[in-house]
Symmetry: C2
Subunit: 348 residues, 2 copies
């Protein structure tokens, strides 16, 4: 049998109530008694029963972090930052929380199921990262879930995700549209007029916003858009590689390729190189996110830097109630244009 509170109580010659209070430190206990209890805990190697505790106290020390793809550093970096603030171990004493990251794989059902699972565990807080699906029924289902979580006392924070109105969730939203606009404006400023765009998966807010920003920039400069210049794909390098080949097939005269994110951009570079084009002399390339590897690409990637760590940390603190939520519950986090070697003046 495992050791229970009662065993500790017996050994320390006190009541279970006292042991509980010593462990939770939320009630005055005489120093000598506390010491006796602590010693007994130690001697018996006692570990609190989490479920029992959560049941009785109607709270839990679980904090959920939902990510679309844990193998993608974009999410890994955010998750890491969030988790570091949640505490888990390393936080202040007493506030030990189990920060757990759940991988939805970009699947709406999984997202919903994880939310239910977290609701079932009576999670203390939930942080949703990255773009949302734009499928209407699913969005409604998620919103309903978030509302219910909030009502049950779970703090809900969105990080790098658009606000979810009427759910009581706090949102730290990335300015994907603005970043996309700036990036394309930079390229236009260099003289590019024929720009290919490799978008992310459809029905994702991130995809749409970045693309919209790109189009805004084109429109602002009177560049008519050619439907052949946009291709959709996944957010990975493979997709960037294939999409670039497709783009080149459709219009070999493109002088720039804007990618949905850095991984895609790297794949694009590979495809361009294989097709005998030099970067940026023949074709300029731009990414998004500024992941760690982007500066090491050859040439280094022009991209939009998103403060992933900072935003994650802030989201974590808000989730823990350690920082004031932004006014109105919503804050926009801007990206920063990083001009590097992969973009240049187009050849005449």
């Amino acid at each position: 049998m495992t050791v229970t509170l009662a065993d500790v109580a017996a050994r320390a010659q006190v009541s279970p109530a006292t042991v509980s209070r010593v462990l939770n430190g939320n009630y005055p206990v005489a120093a000598t008694t506390r010491e006796r209890v602590l010693r007994a805990v130690d001697e018996l190697d006692y570990v609190l029963n989490g479920p029992a505790s959560a049941l009785a106290a109607a709270t839990s020390d679980l904090v959920g972090i939902l990510v679309n793809d844990i193998a993608d550093p974009f999410f890994g970096i955010m998750a890491s930052a969030i988790q570091s603030e949640i505490g888990g171990p390393g936080g202040r004493a007493g506030g030990e929380r189990l920060a757990v990251v759940c991988n939805t794989g970009g699947s709406p059902e999984r997202e919903l199921t994880y939310l239910t699972l977290l609701q079932r565990q009576r999670a203390a807080a939930v942080v949703l990262t990255g773009g949302a699906m734009e499928n209407a029924p699913h969005a409604a289902a998620v919103a309903a879930k978030l509302r219910k979580l909030g009502e049950a006392g779970t703090r809900v924070v969105l990080c790098g995700r658009p606000p979810a109105p009427d759910t009581g969730a706090f949102a730290l939203t990335f300015d994907n549209r603005g970043g996309g606009r700036e990036l394309t404006e930079h390229l236009i400023g260099l003289g590019h007029r024929r720009l290919g765009y490799i978008a992310g998966p459809e029905e994702r807010t991130t995809t749409r916003h970045r693309l919209e920003g790109h189009r805004e920039a084109l429109a602002a400069h009177g560049i008519a858009e050619d439907p052949r210049w946009t291709v959709h794909g996944r957010y990975d390098r493979r997709s960037g590689y294939e999409a670039t080949l497709e783009l080149l097939r459709r219009d070999p005269s493109l002088t720039a390729v804007v990618a949905a994110n850095d991984s895609v951009a790297v794949g694009a570079c590979a495809a361009l190189r294989e097709s005998g084009r030099r970067i940026p002399d023949d074709v300029s390339v731009a990414g998004f996110d500024d992941l760690p590897f982007s500066v090491d690409a050859v040439p280094s990637l022009t991209t939009v830097r998103l403060p992933l760590s900072e935003a994650g940390a802030r989201a974590g603190r808000i989730a823990m109630g350690r920082e004031e939520p932004p006014p109105g519950g919503i804050a926009t986090v801007r990206g920063e244009l990083m001009v590097r070697g992969s973009s240049g003046v187009p050849r005449k």
Copy 2:
């Protein structure tokens, strides 16, 4: 108030016991009754209370995955593979488990605290990934914890981590030593005789094994090792960059640099390039792991491919009791040498 089992029972006009059995599907219930219950569940939007369930049943549906650095794709990929097998959502119905990944940040205390937290939650299984610390007292503490977890019915699996004797844990170990040896032998075979080595952090099994493999290869070919040729650092690109500069300062005549992993290798490439050396013409570079970006580096990285996804998936299945553990509880997973553009014949 939230909805409870009793509410559902009342609405469905059955006893709470019946509702529980319908939900768990582990006891015969007449079809018509089941349907009635399910409808009530739906109408009331009932969500099981996880802690209460875990307490009563003395089991939980939590599975913990411990990683050293969640922002590193090495761990992200493994975690993703493990989680996909654990099920969470997406697995077979009924077996819904909350697979949670915990980020130790490479800190021994955090590792231990997370294990305690998981023990407290009565986790169904725990998977530890990546190298272990070689600090003796800590190793003993972890071993004790693992044993205790095992005794409490938690299945413990080590993935990409050396076996933990006498703990009852199953181990899928990467053959880091063999991979390291092969890699260096490849370089020696090309004609290199002065090889720098950028090792990972000290007191880590992964670091030591890879380094030992490297040294075995040198010894096997009668190459005397120069202490100046080895530098320790972290497992990131920054570290590779700095270590390479240091290596070059110590001995500018090196013709090859072997890195502890791919991120480090990429950093090394950057440093070499900045110092005016071409890869592989002037200096060859080799990495380890074969992460997705490695093939995209310029030149693409010669490295040792570790089947991260496959190993993770297998670890996940073993953790779920869905696959036989390896005979003796231990299996060695070998890497595969990937010869690519970053290694070549040294200049005379």
